[in-house]
């Protein structure tokens, strides 16, 4: 709520554009309440851990996150941050998470390409060698990188949550989609050419991603029941963190800056009144 109030105040102050009407249609993302909303919102660490598990066990089969390093998981505000290890490279959880994954490297003695266990300083490995390999394995579609996905779509994490829960294995009656395409009400698209039913075509578009989540697909370490909704919620929160790992630092810094500026403005106003007290103006 507070975030909305802020947004409205900001809109009032600066001329911004209204919503852009698209030729395509899609359903508005579901309204989700996030722990990281608002000026004091923080990430829920356990949710981030669950979300990371969903990414690692489901999404990472097709989607890269080329801006993320294993060390990010253990840095302040991250899912596995531990105050005992201010340097995330020392964090044993991060080290073991990285160790389980093989990454390509070059043997400096022979020059041969080798595989070795990852270290916290390594990037998340990409699932495909290049764009062509990715397209070849996905019916011609390119699974986008997810590093800043939560910022790259209107609606952010709420859009991701809606998209993941709205992805349908079968199209509604009257809609004939080409093979390898799935109906998603939240995915922007124009379905008029595939629509044979009565009335206008349904909102949404055809997405190349098959419904990725099912109940019980991931076993959460904290025992939380892994429904599709919960998995989608957690991975969306994880992607929100991944898009801006410094969000908590930003808000904490902001609080100090606001208090400072408010006091400073008050002092300046008092000085202004005092200096001008004898001038008629």
């Amino acid at each position: 709520m507070l975030r909305k109030a802020f947004a409205f105040a900001a809109l009032g102050l600066v001329l911004t554009a209204g919503p852009v009407l698209a030729a395509t249609t899609e359903k508005e993302p579901v309204d989700v309440h996030w722990s990281f909303e608002g000026p004091f919102g923080k990430f829920d660490k356990e949710q981030l851990q669950r979300g990371f598990k969903v990414y690692r066990e489901v999404c990472s089969a097709c989607h890269a996150m080329n801006l993320l390093y294993f060390r990010n998981l253990g840095q302040k505000g991250g899912p596995f941050y531990d105050p005992k290890y201010p340097n995330p490279n020392d964090n044993p959880v991060v080290k073991s998470l990285a160790h389980d994954i093989q990454v390509k490297d070059v043997d400096t003695d022979t020059g041969d390409v080798i595989s070795r266990p990852a270290m916290p300083a390594d990037k998340f490995p990409a699932p495909f060698a290049n764009e062509y390999a990715a397209r070849a394995s996905n019916g011609g579609a390119l699974p986008p990188d997810l590093s800043v996905m939560a910022k790259a779509r209107e609606g952010g994490p709420a859009y991701i949550y809606s998209l993941l829960t709205g992805d349908k294995p079968t199209a509604p009656a009257g809609l004939t989609l080409p093979p390898g395409k799935y109906y998603d009400a939240f995915y922007p698209g124009d379905l008029s050419s595939s629509w044979h039913g009565k009335g206008p075509p349904p909102e949404g578009g055809a997405i190349a991603m098959p419904p990725p989540l099912t109940d019980g697909k991931v076993t959460f370490d904290d025992g939380k029941p892994s429904t599709v909704k919960e998995e989608a919620l957690d991975v969306a929160a994880f992607l929100a963190w991944a898009a801006e790992p410094k969000m908590e630092e930003r808000k904490a810094f902001g609080l100090g800056a606001m208090i400072y500026l408010l006091i400073f403005s008050g002092l300046l106003y008092a000085s202004y009144r005092r200096i001008w007290r004898n001038v008629a103006h």
Partner: protein
């Protein structure tokens, strides 16, 4: 107002320096003792706010340039690296990106203030023209800067704007190729845009120096528009206006901080977080909010070249404004009719901004079917932007010249000090209706 100096060197070193390079005298006369009308309101604080914003953009920009990589393969990720791995990089980048919006917000208020109080009129024409040059340089700098993160909107925005030059007959395409450094917006384009983005702010700083010089010759205008006539009309700049500007700057910074710390992406486009892809054009290519009115004027005209001329003319008109205005009264406080047209002008600018954000064919009133007029529906944004653009030009070229000749202004006070004591709208009876002489 300038010319006389009250500076007296106090120490031997100051006396020695004063006969060689009177820099302390200069600072004293321009910053400390400069006589400033005592009735300046808060609309006059935006000059100080703008100086601060320019300084802030230059400082944050220099730091960003230490980490940014101007290469098509690395630019997007290098900006992300600043946000993730550079110490306080997120702060510096948020300050810089949102700073551009704050800079434009302040410059627009500064310009509207100028129009309202007639500050562009004699003897301040050069001051106003220098301001227009600064604004033009700001637009260029902002455009080059927006390309640098190399997101989808950066890239396709650059394509759209550089292609406009192709509308120039005969030489247009060659100039475009020369500008690109190739046959498409690519690595050479990004490199030169980065170079120019780093250069132009220093050019702006230079013109700001001239702008302040041109301000200090006639001195400040003021809300009454009446010339300063006696020392009682003024106060020294310091401490009176340093503290008033300081307070306004601090309040402005609070609003700026709300964006930087709590809404860092709200003024930007989500699409720009998708790396640039020349093969995939975003559905709607829109500039940042501060350029939307000009974008609307560009698209209001069906012919590309004519559209470019209209857009250029919208800014070009500002340069000749001092000679379009025939009114002998500066301040609109005493021009009720002009005030009405002025507020419609602000409304027209806002409407143009809204039009710029929408696709031309979108309906203004959704659901209502409108009349087809020539090439488009009368209920579409393209027609609304035509009406807005028409008013924009009519305001400067028709309304402003005619109004000065036909309107009857209210009585103008004889001096700044006389209305200061009572409310300006009810000017004292001693103030006769003698419209101010020009010059």
């Amino acid at each position: 107002m300038s010319g006389h100096s009250t500076y007296e060197p106090k120490s031997g070193l100051e006396r020695w320096l004063d006969t060689r390079l009177p820099i302390i005298r200069f600072a004293n006369d321009t910053i400390l003792t400069f006589p400033t009308p005592k009735n300046l309101n808060y609309w006059w604080t935006f000059g100080g706010i703008l100086s601060l914003m320019l300084g802030l953009q230059i400082v944050t920009g220099i730091i960003l340039a230490m980490h940014y990589v101007p290469h098509v393969d690395y630019a997007f990720n290098s900006v992300q690296r600043i946000m993730r791995d550079v110490n306080y990089g997120w702060l510096i980048r948020n300050l810089h990106a949102n700073g551009a919006s704050m800079f434009f917000l302040a410059v627009y208020i500064h310009m509207f203030r100028n129009l309202y109080y007639g500050s562009y009129k004699a003897p301040r024409e050069v001051l106003w023209i220098l301001g227009c040059i600064i604004y033009l340089l700001m637009v260029g700098t902002a455009f080059f800067g927006y390309v640098l993160p190399w997101g989808q909107m950066s890239f396709h925005g650059a394509v759209v704007i550089t292609n406009l030059i192709g509308a120039v007959p005969v030489v247009g395409p060659s100039i475009t190729t020369w500008l690109w450094g190739g046959f498409a917006v690519d690595d050479p384009t990004l490199n030169r845009f980065f170079s120019l983005h780093y250069l132009l702010p220093f050019v702006i700083a230079g013109v700001v120096g001239l702008h302040i010089w041109a301000l200090h010759v006639p001195g400040n205008n003021n809300p009454t528009g009446v010339n300063v006539s006696s020392p009682e009309d003024t106060v020294p700049f310091h401490p009176y206006y340093t503290v008033k500007d300081g307070f306004a700057i601090s309040v402005f910074l609070i609003m700026y901080a709300v964006f930087v710390f709590y809404l860092p992406d709200v003024l930007g486009d989500a699409v720009n977080y998708v790396p640039a892809n020349p093969l995939q054009t975003p559905q709607h290519i829109v500039p940042e909010w501060y350029l939307l009115p000009f974008y609307a004027i560009l698209r209001a005209v069906p012919n590309k070249l004519a559209g470019v001329i209209a857009m250029g003319g919208a800014i070009g008109t500002l340069f000749v404004l001092p000679w379009l205005d025939t009114s002998k009264v500066r301040s609109m406080r005493y021009r009720p009719t002009a005030r009405l047209y002025f507020f419609i002008f602000i409304l027209a600018c806002l409407v143009l901004g809204v039009c710029g954000a929408h696709a031309p064919d979108d309906l203004v009133i959704p659901g209502a079917s409108g009349l087809q007029l020539l090439d488009a529906n009368l209920n579409s944004y393209v027609w609304l932007s035509r009406i807005g653009a028409l008013y924009y030009f009519a305001y400067f070229w028709v309304i402003t010249p005619l109004l000065g000749l036909t309107e009857t202004p209210l009585p103008v006070p004889e001096s700044i000090s006389s209305p200061v004591l009572s409310h300006p709208a009810a000017a004292p009876t001693g103030a006769v209706a003698s419209p101010e002489k020009r010059g």
